[in-house]
Amino acid sequence: MKQFWKSMLRSPSGVIGLVILLLAIGIAVFGPLLFPNSPWRMVQRPFLPPFTLSTVPLGTDALGRDVFAGMIFGARVSLLVGLVSTLVALVVGVPIGAMAGYFGGKVDDALMRFTEFFQTIPSFALAIVLVAILQPSIYSIVASIAVVSWPPVARLVRGEVLSLRTREYVQAAVVTGQSNTWIILREILPNALSPVIVLASLMVATAILLESSLSFLGLGDPNLISWGYMVGAGRTVIRQAWWITVFPGVAILISVLGLNLIGEGLNDALNPRLSREGR
């Protein structure tokens, strides 16, 4: 563990990414407490330019709502959706990949065809269709992002399990009569964890991008403000008020960049062997 942090902190991208992520989490958790302006309430005249009033530092949108407040509350939605949908995708993808890799043969064939099928379907189009049909809400958004992002997890885990299955310590566990579940959970998966962690960090970034795109198209949760929604709402008035679209977009860019950098740092720290391959 100490070794891990040491190499993580040695990679500049890892450090920058960690700083960005901690900042974003801090804003998401404490921001709304320190800055209680509701992002939905009208606080000033519409189209107030940024940097004119210190109480509304980033100006107001077409309805006089505080852009800064929207960005702070939006951080919650983006991070939450990113993390939870990645977790759900892991919960689906890891068992499928582990079973395919461990049992092999027909089980492997069936599960991998199933995975490939989901990988062939254009993911963003499927996400749009799912959210539209299930009706936009934070649950349908998380579910549809998870549905389109689990296949790479399954494939990665399958590959890892496939190579770990033949190791001697796993064979030893088989010989001592351990159950399959026990072997998979206690012997194999812990050793397959590091590439999964790297992939997960990148998946959170992709999930944030997906969520913002869905919200931008008007498929966000109508009760929650999010960065994508703000950009979408500011889109029609971009000629009069650039700030409504620019600032939330910068927030998305920085968070996604931070997570990608963490992914790179983790990659260097956890699989030095793979680090030169890039992605």
């Binding site: 062939t120 977009g249 998305i252 950098l261």
Partner: protein
């Protein structure tokens, strides 16, 4: 070669069938009775009309039979009827398809050309300032949401310096012909294609760089050097050609993402393709049209995957066409 293509086509058809079945159940997941929804879309809701619709679309039949009718319909390119637009879904899609193909293929060409170019440069000058600059550039573009890049493009090139048109396929009412028309469309195409292309350019840049650095250390490159070949020839003929393999694979994987990106890009730039059609269907909750576009996107991805598979085999002489 032929048997390989045939095999892949059969596999593609099976996947397509599965997608159609998925589509069928998705329609039934949509809120409300499909007949009532359709009646609502058509703007009428009396019982007689609903019953007529039910019979016309076989909604009074048992589910397996409905599925069969649906699959048969799609096999004959019948994707249903859009009551909102008062036209068959397949007709609406076919009208819009050329614009989407123009956009996605241009964006794909831009992203691949620039990505391979920048990636090659970064690998060639690895560790220098140029490499760092290209890497940071790629990282940033990789982290930007496409809709935001599109809006920033409009802000920069249409609002601030009025160089490029911010929406549409051609100048409305200009009625240009011949070369003038081509130039006009090209002008409208630049921003959407660049927007869509830049995100993928970033991934190809990173992939090409990593892959070139990987190949560079292999023995056959040393051999080529020992033979006294010039550096340029080694880079182009030996390193790049082999380094392109993972890039081609990535391009195939990205087909679906490219089409997803087209939905966003077309929406922002009012580009009259199927992505924009999907957005309109979304706004109007026109589920028939929405799912029709979805099936079309899936078919496009399947075809694109088949093509990348073929290209992969052309680029990599080690793989034979026997599957």
């Amino acid at each position: 070669m032929l048997s390989f293509v045939a095999q892949r086509v059969v596999k593609g058809v099976i996947v397509l069938l599965a997608i159609v079945v998925l589509n069928f159940f998705l329609i039934r997941l949509a809120p409300g009775d499909p007949a009532v929804v359709m009646a609502g879309e058509a703007g009428a809701s009396d019982q007689v009309f609903v019953q007529q619709l039910r019979e016309k679309f076989g909604l009074d039949k048992p589910l397996p039979e409905q599925l069969f009718i649906y699959v048969k319909g799609i096999a004959t390119l019948d994707l249903g009827f859009s009551f909102r637009q008062q036209a068959p879904v397949s007709k609406l899609i076919l009208e819009r398809l050329p614009a989407t193909l123009l956009l996605t293929l241009t964006a794909f060409a831009i992203s691949l050309a620039l990505g391979v170019l920048f990636g090659t440069f970064a690998a060639r000058f690895a560790g220098t300032f140029l490499d760092t600059a290209i890497t940071i550039f790629a990282l940033i573009f990789y982290a930007m949401p496409i809709f935001w890049v599109a809006l920033m493009g409009i802000l920069l090139f249409s609002v601030t310096v009025d160089w490029l048109p911010s929406f549409g396929y051609e100048t409305v009412g200009a009625n240009l012909t011949g070369l003038a028309h081509v130039v006009d469309v090209a002008k409208h195409l630049i921003m959407p294609a660049m927007t869509l292309g830049l995100f993928f350019m970033a991934t190809y840049t990173r992939m090409t760089r990593a892959s070139m650095l990987e190949v560079k250390r292999l023995d056959f490159v040393k051999t080529a050097r020992a033979k006294g070949l010039s550096d340029g020839v080694i880079q182009r003929r030996h390193v790049l050609r082999n380094a392109l393999l993972p890039v081609v694979t990535l391009a195939g994987v990205h087909a679906g993402t490219l089409i997803g990106g087209a939905v966003i890009t077309e929406t922002v730039f009012a580009w009259p393709g199927i992505g924009r059609l999907m957005y309109d269907a979304l706004l109007q909750r026109d589920y028939n049209l929405l799912l029709g576009v979805f099936v079309t996107c899936s078919v496009m991805v399947l075809i694109f995957n088949l093509i990348t598979d073929l290209v992969y085999r052309l680029v990599d002489p080690r793989i034979e066409f026997a599957a």
